[in-house]
Symmetry: C2
Subunit: 121 residues, 2 copies
């Protein structure tokens, strides 16, 4: 065995692409993914699962059809399954996303921002 | 709807007991629990699930039979299912634990440190 702590900052320093999730750990069939975000993502939903956002550094918003959640470092939000949402960040924001293995970042809509899945860092 | 960010520090300020997990959110059948820990916990394992520790403030150790993981704020570790472990912290440490709903903090051993489950804050 060679158990080791996973340091968010060290892992975040290893990549720079926006909207490109990097897996850092798995718990049962769930994955922990670091993501650097900036600008507007696409409207989408995940029909089969909730999706957790934890902000590690910076600020972001998750926009819903009729409201908006503002998130800063040290805050989290769980987007319920099936609910349309659009993440965005005016400046670069660093987040930890937790969701089942295999969930695609653009959910039901696809498009240019669809990231390759299951890339580890 | 009244979606709201969950602020770790605000929630942590609402209780002071050690080794007494408080649920702050759910994602599918998983729970996010804040815990303030200090001193030594009991050796135990969770035969049916992995268990995630994220350190929010302070430092902790997770001791295994043949090694130890040191964790500081901004670091995480996933304890594999079935592996005996003992969390400890010399000074108060504030952590976020993620695991399936219904998991008992003392796992397979029980005892005085067994906390009531599913207490929200």
């Amino acid at each position: 065995m060679a158990y080791q702590a996973i340091n968010f900052k060290e892992k975040l320093d290893l990549f720079s692409e926006h909207w490109s999730p990097r897996v850092i750990a798995e718990m049962n069939d769930y994955q922990f993914k670091l993501v650097k975000i900036q600008g507007q993502f696409v409207w989408h939903k995940h029909p089969d699962t909730d999706e957790t956002f934890i902000v590690l550094a910076g600020e972001m918003q998750i926009v819903f059809k009729e409201e908006q959640v503002d998130l800063a470092a040290g805050e989290m939000f769980v987007v319920p399954r099936g609910v349309e949402h659009k993440p965005l960040a005016a400046k670069e924001c660093r987040i930890l996303v937790i969701e089942p293995r295999g969930v695609v970042n653009t959910g039901d809509v696809g498009g240019d921002l669809t990231a390759e899945n299951d890339i580890w860092v």
